[in-house]
């Protein structure tokens, strides 16, 4: 496979409320920032990820193109998935060998509707959605299946929020307190914050990568896998597809210094650490992770950006990023980055 590197990453200062900006207005500063940082005005390929049901309107990604200065017309595509899969599509496109750069972005405003019940619409429309099964309820089912120690879960939330307070892009959430359940065994403090935000990444190959970035974060492995949808068909206490993707991406070939995991709930972090076989020596979600900022449809892409940033800053030489889609970690994408 051709060497592809992440050479730049930008994100909004995420908010816990709707600032009233349209999606193109939300994205434009991030795109402008990443263009300035790389000095690139044009890219060989552009790909984005977003979801109509967050915006409450069809084709919500169409106007986003107005934020890109896409003139002359650009080679561009869109996934109705987290931006992490847009990055995967761009990585594949760079393998063709005829282009050397790609712009990837993801964006979402979860503040506009009730995310908990909007996620119901993603479920099997015959057997699950008519029951009104909501996001917190199915996450709670998985949490119970994991059977994790409450103290361990609390510590994950505490650590994530503390790290988030140290991350200027994440939300400032207080030390978790309160024992109230959202849906038992999930506590209210286990629920990721409603977040609006966007993120962008520039990929480059060959000479261009080293010209644009002193320490490019090379993608040494990237793979994703899905599994059956219906919850009763899966062993919810683990994630077979995350483990498969991790093996295919080669996570275990060498020690991992930092892992950014798309764990929206603390029990998901436990499942993912096991699936990715991450040991105690791996720093998990130093950005605060989704429990500190969860701009849906950008959250997974931000994991990749944050994992790359550790390499750009020279703080790590081998990092891993994970992104998820579907109920209860149905689909998982794992990226291995190296200096």
């Amino acid at each position: 496979m051709r060497d592809v590197a992440i050479v730049a990453f930008a994100q909004t200062r995420h908010t816990d409320h709707d600032t009233g900006l349209t999606e193109p207005e939300l994205i434009a500063p991030v795109i402008n920032e990443i263009k300035e940082r790389t000095g690139l005005r044009r890219f060989g390929f552009t790909c984005s990820g977003s979801c109509d049901y967050l915006a409450g309107a069809p084709f919500s990604f169409v106007s986003a193109l107005d934020a890109l200065a896409a003139w002359p017309p650009i080679s561009e595509s869109h996934v109705e998935m987290d931006g992490a899969w847009a990055l995967y599509e761009a990585w594949v496109r760079l393998q063709h060998g005829d282009i050397d750069s790609a712009l990837v972005y993801g964006f979402g405003k979860s503040s506009l509707g009730d995310l908990r019940t909007i996620m119901t619409l993603q479920l099997d429309p015959y057997y699950l959605a008519p029951l009104g099964l909501d996001q917190l309820s199915y996450a709670a089912l998985q949490a119970n299946a994991v059977g994790a120690d409450r103290a361990e879960l609390d510590e994950i939330v505490r650590r994530s929020r503390a790290d988030g307070r140290g991350n200027p892009y994440a939300l400032d959430l207080p030390e978790p307190d309160g024992e109230d359940f959202a849906v038992q065994p999930l506590k209210k403090t286990d629920v990721p914050p409603i977040t609006d935000g966007a993120a962008a990444i520039v990929l480059a190959t060959g000479d261009l990568a080293t010209r644009l970035c002193a320490t490019p974060a090379y993608i040494r492995g990237i793979a994703h896998r899905t599994e059956p949808h219906y919850l009763g068909l899966r062993d919810l206490s683990g994630s077979a597809s995350a483990a498969d993707a991790a093996r295919a991406a080669g996570v275990g070939k060498a020690p991992v210094e930092v892992a950014e995991l798309h764990a929206q709930f603390p029990h998901e972090e436990i499942i993912l650490r096991r699936a990715l076989e991450l040991g105690g020596g791996t720093l998990i979600n130093p950005s605060g992770g989704p429990l500190a900022a969860n701009p849906v449809m950008a959250t997974g892409l931000i994991r990749i950006g944050e994992a790359a940033r550790h390499i750009h800053d020279g703080r790590a030489r081998r990092t891993v990023a994970h992104a998820a889609s579907g109920p209860c970690l149905q689909q998982n994408l794992v990226t291995v980055l190296e200096a």
């Binding site: 496979m1 552009t46 979801c51 109509d52 049901y53 409450g56 309107a57 069809p58 084709f59 169409v62 106007s63 193109l65 107005d66 890109l68 896409a70 003139w71 002359p72 017309p73 650009i74 080679s75 561009e76 595509s77 869109h78 996934v79 109705e80 998935m81 899969w85 995967y88 599509e89 594949v92 496109r93 760079l94 393998q95 063709h96 060998g97 005829d98 909007i118 996620m119 619409l121 993603q122 479920l123 099997d124 429309p125 015959y126 959605a129 793979a223 994703h224 896998r225 899905t226 599994e227 059956p228 949808h229 219906y230 068909l233 498969d244 889609s325 579907g326 109920p327 149905q330 689909q331």
Partner: protein
């Protein structure tokens, strides 16, 4: 454009107003299993699945690829969901081809579908947000002014649109999968139907269909059966609100065509392409795209249509399958164009086969005519 890629299987459902006999999974599986059968393969032989469809509001299932994963044999495999507005079917084929061209997989299943009868397309496409600075009245209301402007600029006579409406429906009579099959269709019948969005008449618009289409794509090493070889792939997008944008002949369409022709070594599309499946949801878009795609000079596209050149027995048949004007499961419509192009060069288009077709164009567009996806497929290995 990377490694060689071929279409080795095509599967379609019958397109119709309401498929009452199937679930959503049943619909997409029907197309997928037919494509696998055509390729002589099973789900086991597939490395990855790419799903495309237009807005999720049509079925009211958000990101339905999650629910459809195991229905398409994707358990344990990579799966992606593409959405690029009306061009999505074409983009889905290109994303699938890209996985082969990039050397990532050997065999990829691409599937696109729409089950519009679960709700109502007009409702799903015009869920008016509370605040807007603009008035848009459905797809017809959006595109009709551009057609009027084309007529003004080109001086095309008013009956050209009816010629396309008749020609594509005559072709549909030869395609067993087509939705609108109107015996005795003629110019008089089209002219007798009411203007919906003048200058667009009722029978000059596409229907609203349920249906799915699938293809099996493969690397050179993994080819089974009769391949259609991919000679070029291209996507282009342009911003909708750019000042001075040419909405009649968008630059993105011209650039996309130039890119895909360059890859396929095509200098004169009219002469070198044997058959084209082009996204024509309103009849007037045939002459407009004839110009945009370089089959005719600016202002001359309608003359090509009028001369009969684009008919099944013309020198450059367009939409031998009956096109979008005859079948329109929106999310799948682009993929159907790409698949029909492949069927033609494989010599497997049945009654609507264009004799000796060696090179074919598949085309799709979407949004406000701002997203374009195209490929060229050929009988010979590139």
């Amino acid at each position: 454009m990377g490694n060689r890629c071929a279409v080795i299987g095509v599967g379609q459902t019958h397109y119709t107003t309401k498929r009452r006999d199937v679930s959503i999974a049943g619909l997409v599986r029907e197309a997928a299993l037919r494509a696998l059968e055509d390729a002589g393969l099973t789900f086991k032989d597939i490395d990855a699945v790419v799903i495309g469809k237009a807005p999720d509001l049509f079925e009211g299932v958000m990101m339905p690829e999650s629910y459809l994963a195991d229905a398409l044999g994707a358990a344990g495999k990579p799966m992606m969901r593409v959405h690029t507005a009306g061009s999505v079917g074409g983009s889905t084929a290109l994303v699938g081809a890209s996985l082969i061209q990039g050397g990532v997989h050997e065999r990829v299943l691409v599937v696109a579908f729409e089950k519009q009868s679960e709700s109502n397309a007009t409702w799903a496409l015009s869920t008016h947000l509370p605040f807007s600075a603009s008035l848009v009245v459905g797809a017809g209301g959006y595109f009709a002014p551009h057609i009027r402007e084309y007529m003004r600029r080109s001086g095309a006579p008013g009956h050209i649109g009816t010629l396309v409406a008749v020609k594509d429906r005559l072709n549909a009579l030869k395609n067993p999968y087509a939705h609108l099959r109107i015996p005795g269709i003629d110019q008089k019948m089209v002219e007798s139907t009411p203007m919906l969005w003048e200058p667009i008449r009722y029978l000059e618009t596409c229907p609203s269909s349920d249906g799915a289409c699938a293809m099996v794509l493969s690397s050179e090493a993994a080819v089974t059966g009769t391949p259609a070889w991919v000679h070029g792939t291209a996507m282009r997008s342009e911003p909708i609100f750019r000042a001075s944008r040419d909405t009649v002949s968008p630059q993105a369409g011209k650039d996309c065509a130039a890119d895909v022709y360059r890859q396929a070594g095509i200098a004169d599309p009219r002469r070198q392409i044997d058959v084209a499946e082009v996204y024509v949801p309103f009849s007037w878009y045939e002459p407009m795209w004839l110009e945009n795609l370089g089959f005719a000079a600016e202002g001359e596209g309608w003359k090509l249509t009028e001369s009969g050149a684009t008919a099944l027995d013309g020198d450059i048949p367009w939409n031998a399958s009956g096109g979008v004007l005859s079948s329109n499961p929106i999310g799948a419509s682009g993929l159907i164009r790409f698949a029909e192009a492949a069927l033609q060069v494989r010599g497997m288009a049945g009654e609507h086969q264009v004799d000796g077709a060696r090179t074919a164009l598949g085309h799709a567009y979407g949004g406000g005519a701002q997203f374009f996806a195209m490929w060229i497929v050929g009988r010979e290995r590139p």
